[in-house]
């Protein structure tokens, strides 16, 4: 039968199922196929903290949303155009996010009395009018997969498990995706079990062929490649990009990277990734606790390595005393906080930006550190290098504030030319620096205010440092009041003096009177909302902070040149408070802490309201 082909400029698909249904993998593969085609992409995985929550229940629903378009996009999309629901729980958990008219592909095999009852459906929503207004495609995914694999040498259980590949095949057909990379992926994944390669490939093809032959799907869609900067791309998550940034920092500094880490969601992937790259001289240590992880990293920095520790909010709290020691020792240290919803254990797999105050102020004494935050998954690569650059050049702890949204979300990444990455080489102290031939461990470089990095093993520079207050220059223990005052001010001044790029303002028409200021992972939703407003003729300017300590030198001037400043944050107004305090600007906060990123729509609506009063 001939299918109609329809062109679209953008599509948002959400794959949803039980945590054991392989939805993350399905979404990941669809994303990879889409990347191969050349669409711009943004993804958002959403999964429970439980490894296997009770099957078929609402808390066990795992989903993966992918937004792809023939133009450059900034977010994983507000509302799905298509929902793939592998069971009643997946349908119920996601239906509210769907606009009327959306396509719903349901696995009818799972709509049993028992499964319906588990999530409180009295009757099957497929049989009553509750899905009126949606385009429902009932597909017996499980039984058709099992049927298609009847000739395969696999158990019924393995055949049933391949149903996600059937779904992927169907969606790949529906959106005309190139699937060679998926076939290659299956061969790699099941290299040791050829019968599973065959079964999954067969399931994928069965899904594709089903789309082509069934009457249930009369339209096939195409989304043309986006116009993107020429070059080689890969799709990358924030955690992967951040890991590669740390590898790159090691290469560009010529120093061994030492990662001390304790497993914690959502940061563990960085430990996993860096553990694979020993050939770069990277040492990873899974420490006994968060404190040991940062302690070992600091010990390694003392010995001349690039010491790094990766964690999430609860871990940063535990590391705080050691970070203060690093402030006193003035040694390089990179602390990565992949933020999650708190306080306490909070919602470990959900996103939030509520560790900004902790990053800026969460230590005892006056203990300033540099703080930076990546704005998107691929930006995590460059942010990691920037964190390393500041740590190495200015001999300071640097807090890198990622969050679950950028860490697990993905987007296309234009691969950088290695030679174009910053040169991070450092010079260790090799000779005494005092007039009388002595070594002064706290004699500062007049430019950077950094003290010499004199690593053990250097003859003639034997010296003792510690957490006790040190005398200027000599580093000897000092309780002198004036010296302490001087050292406290110097530690503050040396962070303030770190040169960071000016904040750039995006105001294409140059006539905006409203500025939206963001930081970290809100860049995408804010950017998308601003674009929509501008398309509707409503001028609005966007500025985004990557450096939160020190802040860009031009920020005050930028803030004061607008009538109104709005600061959307996934916290209760932490940056807004800093901005108000530091610049005396009457910024308005817009705050949501739902564990989910902002949607562009809600920001658009909010900003439109604000504009009425500007």
């Amino acid at each position: 039968m001939t299918k109609q082909i329809r062109q679209l400029d953008r599509v948002v698909i959400r794959f949803a199922g039980d945590s054991g249904d392989g939805m993350q993998l399905t979404g990941d593969r669809f994303t990879s196929e889409t990347a191969q085609l050349g669409n711009d992409i943004s993804t958002l995985p959403n999964f429970p903290a439980e490894i296997r929550a009770p099957a078929g229940t609402l808390p066990g629903v795992s989903s993966f949303q992918v937004h792809f378009a023939d133009y450059d996009i900034l977010t994983p999309g507000d509302a799905p155009n298509v929902l793939v629901a592998m069971n009643p729980a997946a349908l119920k958990a996601n239906l509210a996010d769907l606009p009327r008219g959306a396509d719903i592909i349901v696995n009818t095999d799972e709509f049993t009395k028992r499964n319906l009852a588990k999530v409180g459906y009295q009757a099957s929503p497929l049989d009553d009018d509750s899905l009126d207004g949606y385009v429902v495609h009932p597909v017996a995914l499980t039984s058709m997969t099992v049927g298609a694999l009847a000739d395969q040498q696999v158990s019924k259980k393995d055949a049933e498990r391949a149903k996600n590949m059937f779904a992927l095949g169907l969606l790949s057909w529906m959106y005309s995706r190139p699937y060679e990379s998926t076939l290659r992926f299956l061969e790699r994944k099941f290299a040791k079990r050829p019968e599973l390669v065959a079964a999954n490939v067969a399931a994928f093809r069965a899904g594709w062929n089903f789309g082509e032959t069934t009457d249930s799907f009369s339209v096939r869609y195409e989304v043309k490649p986006a116009k993107m900067v020429p070059g080689t791309y890969r799709n990358i998550t924030g955690n992967a990009a951040l890991s590669l940034g740390l590898v790159a920092a090691g290469v560009r500094s010529g120093l061994p990277v030492f990662l001390g880490a304790y497993p914690i969601t959502p940061a563990s992937d960085i430990l996993h990734e860096l553990s694979k790259h020993k050939r770069f001289g990277i040492v990873t240590m899974q420490a006994e606790d968060e404190i040991a992880a940062v302690g070992a990293a600091l010990g390694a920095s003392y010995g001349g390595a690039l010491g790094v520790t990766t964690t999430s909010g609860p871990g940063v709290a535990l590391k705080s005393e050691t970070i203060s020691l690093a402030v006193a020792l003035e040694l390089p240290l990179v602390i990565v906080d992949v933020q999650r919803a708190g306080p306490s254990t909070g919602m470990p797999t959900k996103t939030e930006q509520a560790d900004l105050n902790m990053a800026l102020y969460g230590r005892h004494g006056e203990a300033p550190v540099a703080v930076i935050a990546p704005k998107s998954p691929s930006d995590c690569f460059h942010a990691a290098i920037e964190a390393a650059r500041i740590a190495l050049t200015y001999r300071t702890p640097v807090l890198l504030l990622s969050d679950n949204y950028v860490a697990n979300g993905s987007e296309p990444w234009l691969l950088p030319d290695v030679e174009s990455l910053p040169d991070l080489r450092v010079e260790f102290a090799t000779a005494p620096n005092g007039d009388d031939g002595t070594f002064l461990p706290y004699l500062r470089d007049p430019q950077t205010l950094a003290r010499p990095w004199a690593i053990p093993g250097t003859p003639g520079l034997e010296h003792r440092i510690g957490g006790l207050e040190k005398a200027d220059k000599t580093g000897d223990i000092s309780y002198d009041p004036a010296n302490h005052d001087f050292m406290v001010r110097t530690r503050a001044a040396r962070i303030e003096a770190i040169p960071v790029p000016d904040v750039e303002v995006e105001d294409p028409d140059g006539n905006a009177r409203l500025l939206v200021l963001g930081w970290g992972s809100t860049y995408g939703p804010i950017g998308a909302a601003c674009r929509r407003l501008r398309q509707r003729g409503l001028p609005v300017a966007q500025a985004h902070l990557r450096h939160l300590a020190p802040m860009p030198a031009n920020l005050g001037e930028v803030l004061r040149s607008y009538d109104r400043v709005v600061i959307p944050e996934m916290n209760l107004g932490q940056l807004a408070q800093v901005i108000r305090g530091k610049y005396l600007v009457d910024a308005i906060g817009y705050n949501q802490v739902r564990g989910l990123p902002f949607t562009a729509t809600e920001l658009e609506t909010m900003l439109e309201e604000v504009l009425k009063n500007v």
Partner: protein
């Protein structure tokens, strides 16, 4: 490594220019002098020696050593030293700690350093009291200890540091006493020669807050009957003319002290620090009574086990050995790995 050259260092070379500020009469002075005098024996250049400490009286130690030194934070010295040692196998890394630092706030790091067998020499100065905070009971204080924080007597049972270290399967465990310089240096020597974690408990007198805690082990009138001097390969006897001995009673789990005259010579345990099962050294660590009678000193255990540092470095070296590209080429390859696409 090139041929070792005799460095001809002396104790004086290991004295820093800092004024030593422990209380007059503190046992730490004797330990410092013994360590400074012992260090030249290592024939390691001063710049390759690092002392790392935590917080407490003992943790001021690094300031007085003319080596590299890091006075860190409470309890964390083993963790910090682990990062240093693992990333710099060329260094000789020593941890100086106390009973509160190592066994209370830093207990977790201590046991994990020992189980990993990190190449650290850990000297625990045990004075069974908190000195720097002015006299609270410590995790090694005896039950019922009356201090400022326990006016009615402490209610909790103490750790036996050696039992704890052995429970963590430390590959080297020893004990010595601040006032016996010769013995202290003999244990340091054995510790320094050991590859992996060496844990040494040093009984140290705090003459301000817990004076005389170890007097029975020091007074000429009592020490010979109280101290069991362990010597590898020798039957364990002690007291005047060896009138006591250590036996392994049939049917029992541990070791016991008997009058030598009451047992057959072959029943006397011959000390073997290399016994693989830590149960033997553990039994030795359980011999002392509450009054410090039957206190073994010397090397309890010294067994060969790969150090964490060596295993980690071997993995890195093995991975690096396969590399033929420059780091930049490797990086370019890594960045471009996985599914990529090109836009022209």
């Amino acid at each position: 490594m090139s041929e070792p050259v005799a460095l001809k260092l002396t104790a004086k070379d290991f004295k820093s220019d800092q004024e030593v500020r422990w209380c007059p009469g503190c046992g730490d002075y004797a330990i410092l002098a013994a360590v400074q005098q012992f260090m030249p024996e290592l024939n390691i250049p001063r710049e390759r020696i690092v002392f790392v400490s935590g917080i407490g009286c003992s943790s001021r130690f690094p300031y007085y050593m003319n080596t590299y030194g890091l006075h860190s934070i409470h309890g964390r010295a083993p963790a910090i030293a682990t990062g240093l040692s693992v990333s710099r196998p060329d260094l000789s890394v020593w941890v100086v700690t106390g009973d509160g630092d190592a066994l209370s706030i830093g207990g977790n790091h201590l046991i994990h350093a020992l189980r990993r067998n990190v190449n650290l020499k850990i000297l625990l100065f045990n004075n069974r009291i908190y000195g720097l905070t002015k006299g609270q009971y410590s995790p090694t204080s005896e039950v019922g200890k009356i201090t400022k924080s326990t006016p009615a007597g402490s209610a909790d049972a103490p750790f036996n540091p050696l039992s704890l270290a052995l429970g963590a399967e430390a590959s080297f465990v020893g004990r010595t006493i601040d006032s016996d310089r010769k013995h202290l240096q003999s244990v340091l020597r054995a510790a320094a020669e050991h590859q992996g974690s060496a844990f040494v408990e040093i009984y140290q007198n705090c003459n301000i807050f817990n004076d005389g805690a170890f007097d029975q082990l020091k007074e000429p009138a009592t020490r010979d009957d109280f101290l069991i001097r362990l010597e590898h390969g020798q039957p364990i006897t002690f007291g005047a003319e060896g009138r006591f001995c250590v036996v392994h009673p049939p049917g029992g789990f541990g070791l016991e002290v008997r009058e030598t005259a009451s047992v057959r010579p072959e029943e006397i345990v011959v000390h073997d620090a290399t016994v693989a099962d830590p149960a033997y050294a553990f039994a030795l660590s359980r011999l002392p009574g509450l009054d410090l009678s039957n206190t073994p000193i010397g090397v309890f255990r010294s067994v060969d086990r790969p150090s964490y540092d060596s295993v980690v470095q071997a993995q890195v070296e093995e991975a690096k050995a396969k590399v033929t590209e420059t780091p930049e080429q490797q990086l370019a390859g890594l960045l471009g790995s996985g599914d990529t696409w090109t836009i022209l």
